[in-house]
């Protein structure tokens, strides 16, 4: 449905998007994740034909956005970061205008009424957009993206400015839309992406750093399942014992966290559960375990480590380049 190959966008000397390639199949809901200024919006603007790429190809529904812009754009419903609303129009006038602008062929009255019901804006149908709250404006923006029932929806931070109830509503709406549409949505809220998307594309500083499902991402990047231990006892002695436990690859001390209590990070050999053995051995020496938890990575950790790693890598490259 969406095919992106070696997409690059430069603003002068600034590289906003660097050689990104991915594809999205029909019916997939894909989340764009990345810190502010990572290149999410730029990528979306290129996909929708608002900006042109410096190099690379973007195809929507089989149509190249540069060569067949009108067919490609007709397959997209786009909600930009700031909804493109004419403040001096009523919701009715605005949706009517967007219907004409998109050259929609569906029955005008029923189609617009259906969309309004879907995003719950029937109540403000006759009001001036200028007088609407941020949440309602966001929904009108979403409504305009849905006009014409486009097979591809591109939503740039669709839940910004909504209250928690509305966020839940819009998320479930997007999930429902995902049954019949191909959806790309961007966000920097991890829970949102995790809740709505089948697949996650993480972008950092213009680079694509990960492209996988949430479950796979957390699994892949939490391969080292370390155990954090807090033990009351002498640092050297405990450390010596821990590293002698069968199945432990290595153990390091993280320092005194509470008076007389030290924290240790224990890395087991892959596939081994060493918690039982550690407990019994420590208990035998009368060293009490004050806390034990395995460091399972959440998507958040994956995100932070990926974007941080990338940052330091980029810095290193820069330094290397200068030297």
């Amino acid at each position: 449905m969406i095919e992106v190959k070696n997409l690059t966008k430069r603003y002068g000397s600034h590289l906003a998007v660097n050689d990104i390639s991915f594809s999205v199949d029909e019916g997939e809901v894909v989340g764009f994740l990345g810190p502010n200024g990572a290149g999410k919006s730029t990528t979306m603007n290129i996909l929708t034909g608002y900006l042109s790429a410096s190099s690379g190809v973007a195809k929507i529904n089989g149509f190249d956005i540069l060569e067949k812009p009108n067919q490609a754009k007709a397959s997209i419903g786009y909600l930009p970061e700031q909804p493109p609303l004419y403040l001096d129009m009523t919701v009715r006038e605005y949706l009517d205008f967007m219907y004409d602008l998109k050259k929609c062929k569906l029955s005008r009255e029923t189609h617009i009424a259906e969309i309004c019901r879907l995003v719950k804006i029937e109540g403000v149908y006759g009001r001036l957009i200028k007088n609407l709250s941020k949440g309602y404006r966001q929904r009108v923006g979403l409504a305009q993206a849905l006009i014409g029932n486009p097979p591809v929806l591109i939503l740039d931070e669709p839940t910004v400015g909504l209250d928690p109830n509305q966020i839940i509503e819009i998320r479930s709406l997007i999930k429902n839309l995902g049954k019949h549409h191909t959806v790309i949505l961007s966000s920097h809220i991890l829970q949102e992406i995790e809740a709505v998307c089948d697949r996650i594309i993480i972008i950092n500083q213009g680079n694509l750093v990960a492209d996988d499902s949430a479950a796979n991402l957390t699994r892949k990047y939490s391969s080292d399942r370390r155990i954090l231990l807090r033990v009351a006892g002498g640092e050297e002695d405990v450390l010596g014992l821990l590293s002698r436990v069968p199945g432990v690859q290595n153990a390091v001390s993280l320092g005194e966290k509470e008076p007389g209590i030290y924290e240790y990070a224990v890395t087991p050999v892959e596939g081994q559960d060493v918690r039982r053995e550690i407990s019994t051995r420590l208990a035998a020496r009368n060293w009490l375990i004050m806390g034990m938890r395995s460091m399972e990575m959440t998507l958040e950790d994956v995100f932070v480590s990926l974007t941080r790693e990338n940052l330091s890598m980029a810095r290193k490259n820069k330094k290397g380049g200068r030297a």
Binding site: Y11, N45, T48, G49, Y50, L51, S52, P69, N70, Q71, K73, A74, I76, Y78, P80, Q82, P84, L85, Y86, L87, D88, M89, E93, F97, M98, D100, L101, K102, K103, Q144
Partner: protein, 235 residues
């Protein structure tokens, strides 16, 4: 094109701009009609038209200042440019909406013509020529204003910029006399002189070369506006 045209034309009446234009044009032409026709007892409307030239050049920047600059500021251009409409269609929609608004403000002049027709038979061909001339000049200013408003996000700068060009167009005529003995410059200035061409319309001469001049200049500025919008995607 149709959707943009309709929205743009309507928006002249959801803001004061449309009403201000109608009011100013009605006042100005009413004043000229009183002074040159009723008070002096002359049936020729040409004086009204030739005096309106200045008014049109000064008031039209207000009509065009918002056309693209506001879209950019409100980010509504994202809706326009990502819709399956061509850039040319969008620009033409805005151009014709502003042109129609301008033509609407000239309707009062028809009333004056009818008033005169009660007294004497006016020379309708001259009146039609006058209308055509004024609409062509207006279209030229609108196309220039369209281009300038696509270059900036600020309505104020768009208005002042267009006003500057309008004033330059007015002064071009006095330059023709200064530069008339320098061959190359004289020819260029003469070619660009709008008021001189307009004067021929007001005297009832329909010079096809001038009609083509105005229309091709408008086409040029519309084309440049399309290029500006297109170029923005590449920067």
């Amino acid at each position: 094109m149709g959707a943009v045209f309709k929205r743009e034309f309507k928006s002249f009446f959801t803001s004061p701009v449309g009403y201000v234009l109608l009011a100013v044009m009605t006042c100005a032409s009413g004043f000229f009609f009183f002074v040159f026709n009723i008070y002096s007892g002359i049936a020729d409307l040409s004086y009204v038209f030739s005096n309106l030239f200045t008014v049109v050049l000064l008031i039209l920047p207000i009509l065009t200042m918002r056309l693209f600059s506001d879209e950019k500021r409100q980010k509504t251009d994202q809706a326009l440019l990502t819709s399956p409409s061509s850039l040319t269609g969008i620009v033409l929609g805005k151009f014709f909406a502003a042109l129609l608004m301008f033509v609407l403000s000239l309707v009062i002049l028809l009333v004056f013509a009818v008033v005169i027709a009660f007294q004497v038979t006016p020379s309708w061909s001259v009146i039609i020529g006058n209308f055509l001339g004024l609409i062509l000049v207006g279209g030229l200013v609108i196309s220039i204003g369209l281009l300038i408003s696509s270059l900036t996000e600020s309505q104020l700068i768009a208005a002042i910029g267009t006003l500057g060009v309008s004033v330059a167009l007015m002064m071009m005529d006095s330059l023709t006399t200064i530069f008339s003995n320098i061959p190359a410059v004289g020819t260029v200035v003469n070619f660009l002189s709008v008021s001189q061409k307009y004067t021929e319309f007001t005297s009832g001469i329909l010079n096809y070369a001038y009609v083509i001049f105005f229309i091709s200049m408008q086409a040029l500025f519309i084309f440049l506006t399309v290029r500006v919008l297109d170029r923005k995607r590449w920067s």
